[in-house]
């Protein structure tokens, strides 16, 4: 069976991540593995002390972790943060990217997991000295400790990015376990005073960085989904071959055989679509965002169908969180709601073309109140 699920992003990074995930699968997350393993350096340019890698390199890590069901905020920490930092002027960006690569600054995006980095939940006001930030951001990933938050904001009708000490931001107003088992938190910023230097950048450079971070988040989440689908199907196949009822293996019941066949065909389609997305990304295709939105809508549909089928075919075991297939099903459904759900992306796809990308992104998920 192994050959039926070839890796999407093979290589040493995949092997290392996969091995790490396999070894740590049943444990609470201790410390900060993402930084300890040096993954935050992946996208950071070599001149800033990083690995100068590509999104495909990061996708290897995402794939390796998803294969064994480990949940870590790699997309947020290793893609969104360095890509947003690129908005700052060369010197500032260099300094912070270097800190990210070596792990001396632990920066997390102050963005709802359900929204894209293009979404504005926070507004800023310029004061005589420094700025004042206000807004509610619900569902920020807090799985790993943070020393700083990168906050995308709206300021006087313009986009800007702030970098704020975690201490200044303070504790979240509520914490939750997310569907896939991460730590999520809601923050309320009420006229939070920050110094002048907290504003890293504003204007076109910010918009460009936010767009890149959004594309990356969508791409990597899609890669996570395909890797999780492979795991889900592999686990289901093993279960059907091993579990016996009525004196025979479940794998001998035709209805289950067809169901798992349908899952596999959906997986192949999803994999094809994600490879296509990465090609478009690498070629800088003009249509990339539209393709990513299509992928979002389509993968949500396939992943949900496969998750539900796997739960059903596992019977009672399908509802037990002790089972990897079950946790993978949860992960797949949670991923649907990361970086804009299918209803949001469908609305954008169906909007008249001339205004498609100009629709105000505020309150697009209803998570900003």
């Amino acid at each position: 069976m192994a050959t039926s699920f070839p890796s999407l992003f093979p290589g040493m990074l995949l092997d290392a991540a996969s091995r790490y995930a396999e070894d740590h699968i049943a444990q609470e997350i201790q410390g900060d593995p993402v930084r300890e393993l040096g993954w935050t350096a992946t996208l950071v340019p070599e001149e800033a002390g990083g690995a100068g890698g590509t999104l495909s390199d990061l996708a290897s890590i995402v794939e390796g972790l998803a294969t064994h069901g480990l949940q870590l905020p790699v997309v947020e920490t290793c893609a969104v943060v360095p890509l947003l930092l690129q908005a700052a002027g060369a010197e500032t960006a260099h300094r912070w990217l270097e800190a990210v690569a070596e792990g001396s600054a632990r920066i997390a995006p102050m963005v709802a997991l359900s929204a894209t980095p293009e979404h504005d939940a926070v507004t800023a006001r310029h004061l005589d000295i420094g700025y004042e930030l206000s807004g509610v951001v619900e569902g920020v990933d807090l799985t790993l400790p943070a020393t700083h938050y990168l906050v995308p904001v709206q300021m006087d009708g313009d986009d800007a990015i702030f970098l704020v000490d975690a201490e200044r931001i303070g504790a979240p107003k509520a914490r939750y376990r997310t569907m896939e088992g991460r730590l999520g938190a809601d923050f309320a910023l009420e006229r939070l005073a920050v110094p002048e230097g907290a504003c890293l950048a504003r204007g076109a450079a910010v918009r460009e960085a936010r767009a890149k971070a959004t594309d990356a988040a969508l791409l990597l989440t899609a890669a996570d989904t395909v890797a999780a689908l492979a795991t889900l199907i592999r686990q289901t196949v093993t279960h059907l071959k091993e579990r016996r009822q009525f004196g025979v293996a479940l794998a001998s019941f035709q209805v289950l055989r067809h169901r798992v066949a349908d899952m596999y065909v959906k997986y192949l389609g999803a994999k094809g679509l994600v490879i296509h997305c990465f090609h478009e990304y690498e070629q800088g295709a003009a249509d990339l965002r539209r393709t990513l939105r299509l992928a979002k809508v389509s993968l949500a549909e396939s992943a949900r169908a496969c998750a539900e089928a796997a739960i059903q075919m596992h019977g009672g075991m399908g509802v037990s969180e002790e089972v990897l297939a079950t946790r993978t099903a949860q992960r797949l459904i949670a991923s649907e709601f990361r970086y804009g759900d299918r209803l949001m992306h469908a609305a954008q796809l169906l909007a008249p073309p001339q205004s498609a990308e100009r629709v105000s992104l505020s309150n697009q998920t209803g998570s900003v109140r």
Partner: protein
Amino acid sequence: MSIDYAGFRRELEAFARSACPPDIRAVVAAGQKITKREYQAWQQILNAQGWGAPSWPREAGGTGWDIRQRLIFEEVMAENDCPPLYHHGLGHIGPVIIRFGTPDQKARFLPRILDGSDWWCQGYSEPGSGSDLASLSTSARLEDGEWVVNGQKIWTSHAHEASMIYMLVRTSKEAKKQEGISLLLVPMDTPGITVRPIKTIDGWHHLNEVFFDEVRVRADNLVGEVGKGWTCAKFLLERERLPPANVARLELMRRQVTQLVEQASRAAAGQRDFSGLHHKLLLCEADVKGARVMMAEATDDLIHQRPLGVQPSAIKMTCADVAQRLTTIALDAVGPDAAHRFLADAGQDVPDATWIQNYMFTRARTIAGGTSEVQRNVVANELLGA
């Protein structure tokens, strides 16, 4: 004498509104998981009114209502956000004891189901025996006038809060695996019983594994004849698949989900495309109407002791399917807001997130009580032969 159904409905409505405590109604209205606390309190209130067991015969403590009255009862209770009746006692083992039990068993167990003092759980499934229930291997041997039970049950809902378990045990090894199975009633505080919780996909605690190590049970706690437990088990399963509350509850859920979609749709202000969800809701509305008639017909057959055929399977599949579709619509409506709030700190309730848990919980509707694949086999065998 003709029954004044409209008057009956009004009487029930007045009762539901005045007698059901607001905190319990709030739990039901929010679609939260109903626990022993709500079930038990409501059962005691109903019982004090003489309505503790609407579907039992009058001589066993039931109401003597006709079929239409029972359906009205279920609908009114659902419409007014009252909890459903607790199924394991009233719906499952109660009717079995009424049909197969000894006078002593009826006297010992039925009143305690009616007044809510016993809380039952079902020990059917085992690690190796799920859909193929007849292959079960938990054993009971007779020793010094007592049954001695050894083995393991799994997926036992409510075992951690139950005072009694009704369980299938193998009392002899016959050639045909359905034979040699018996139905035993066992107090959960008997020495040798261990309950271990199972962490489930919905974040609620309801499932358990139950281990039996030399558990000694009174000989007269066996229901029906020794080795003929399969007949009781099948009788029970037919009823398990036909709970009249299901359809009324579906209508309640449909209304809740419709409201949720309207709210979410307003909040999204055109930024999310809800047209698909509205369309799916319409289909659910139609299916609930069809299911209501299916249910009424089946209940009528049950009362007149006509054979039920595939009806329990058909109704179970339909209700499970509609419930899953409804909670899926709810998931889509609230997902972006709620997926990160799956479980809140310290039991804090988050209404939107409860729908995510409900979506997960409802996955089990096509598994528990006989999977949909097995129900389809039943229907297909009827149509096409085994």
